[in-house]
């Protein structure tokens, strides 16, 4: 019986974060049978918060590692955009406990202006408008992203997901996630989503 209880507890520790981050489609293309029309890409933050900028940086690194896109280094993208990070109206109607997406709300004009400055084939914009905490031991950064193509700023795909740090246990002694846990959570979700993007856009490294 004790063994079973231990297994259930361990399972809850392992499974819950996966469930929490797995409820969303992290990236979906708007067109079926999509063929890539270029190779260069940049990732930028849609909000001027530190967490958003760090995420954009980690996502750019992950896309470089996992895909065949030629990634513009985040630092270079930041230097090319005046006053970066800048706030860009994002694809959501509200973002409290979760993001309520509305992809038509994005400030496309601002996106076009930025994409023309960067001169890349693809621009992936990420927003992190809210963070939540569950029972004190799990912290979640809610993320929504849109991929734009060419200098016209045409939307190519989008998705939303969560970076989850921490774990639940069977007692109240589970420590709160620290900076390292949060950084790992961002790295993990960036790694996962970059592979999804690579696969769906036909650019995943073999």
């Amino acid at each position: 019986m004790k063994t079973f209880q231990f297994m259930v507890r361990t399972a809850s520790v392992l499974v819950l974060p996966i469930l929490l981050s797995g409820c969303f489609e992290t990236f979906s293309l708007l067109e079926t049978d999509y063929r890539p029309k270029g190779k260069t890409m940049a990732v930028i933050a849609g909000l001027d918060t530190e967490s958003n900028v760090v995420l954009a940086q980690r996502m750019a690194d992950a896309l470089k590692k996992n895909t065949r896109f030629q990634m513009m280094p985040h630092k270079q993208a930041a230097q090319a955009i005046p006053n970066y990070p800048v706030k860009i109206k994002g694809p959501y109607s509200s973002a409290y406990l979760e993001i309520e997406e509305d992809y038509s709300r994005t400030d496309k004009k601002k996106i076009r202006d930025i994409q023309q400055k960067l001169g890349v084939d693809y621009l992936y914009v990420l927003w992190t408008p809210t963070a939540t905490e569950i029972q004190g031991s799990i912290q979640q950064l809610h993320i929504i992203g849109q991929m734009f193509e060419g200098s016209s700023g045409k939307e190519l795909g989008h998705g939303k997901y969560v970076a989850t740090a921490g774990r639940v246990g069977g007692c109240c002694l589970v420590p709160k996630p620290d900076d390292k846990d949060r950084a790992n959570a961002v790295d993990d979700i960036s790694d996962y989503v970059s592979r999804e993007i690579g696969e769906k856009m036909g650019m995943l490294k073999k």
Partner: protein
């Protein structure tokens, strides 16, 4: 993730904390004898999360509409301050009866913002602990609101007032086009209006 995280709970406990045990002061001064002056005010969001930005905006709009104070719009606050909102850290107050929420060193950041705002008063507000909690028959949303008013007249320069309250709202019927976001939006708006009304009452700045 910054220090002001939303709390997502499915426990009834969270609800009872919000509605029962929490302090209930939408706005009050530390000193009973404090005499506010007419003048200008800037509402400043203490955090960069969506809920805090919207709460500050609802509060600003209510005060602009109903009070005799000259209240800067949130766009004007952003224009003057530059990068806005900036996260202003909070800490457990030394005196819970007269709570000053600024973490050590953070008041200086508000003073620096005031250098650009140049208003007589700055009201800093935070939204903490947005939660969803379920009972047997319903789903409810709750949130806690805290704030501090700083008087920037040359003779004062002190934190003179505070907010510390929580409110909740039942989930509306989703069959009629409602959403969690709309419910929480309404909760934020009603709470901001309550704070504004109490502020105008205590400062005697409501329009006749």
């Amino acid at each position: 993730m910054n220090g002001l995280h939303r709390v997502l709970c499915v426990m009834v406990l969270a609800g009872s904390m919000l509605s029962g045990c929490a302090t209930n002061v939408p706005f009050d001064f530390f000193q009973e004898a404090y005499k506010p002056r007419a003048g200008s005010l800037a509402v400043v969001s203490g955090g960069a999360d969506d809920s805090e930005i919207r709460f500050a905006d609802f509060l600003t709009r209510r005060l602009q509409e109903k009070s005799t104070l000259k209240v800067l719009s949130q766009d004007e606050v952003e224009r003057r301050v530059g990068k806005y909102p900036k996260a202003i850290k909070i800490a457990e107050p030394k005196d819970s009866g007269k709570p000053v929420w600024f973490a050590p060193g953070e008041r200086a950041r508000v003073d620096a913002m005031h250098g650009a705002l140049k208003t007589d008063y700055v009201l800093v507000v935070w939204v903490t602990d947005i939660s969803r909690y379920s009972t047997r028959n319903s789903v409810n949303y709750g949130a806690s609101f805290i704030g501090n008013l700083v008087d920037y007249s040359p003779a004062s320069g002190k934190t003179v007032g505070y907010s510390d309250f929580g409110r909740s709202r039942s989930q509306s019927c989703f069959l009629f086009g409602g959403s969690e976001g709309k419910d929480i939006d309404t909760l934020l708006r009603l709470s901001a209006e309550e704070l504004a009304d109490e502020f105008m009452d205590r400062t005697r700045t409501g329009k006749k």
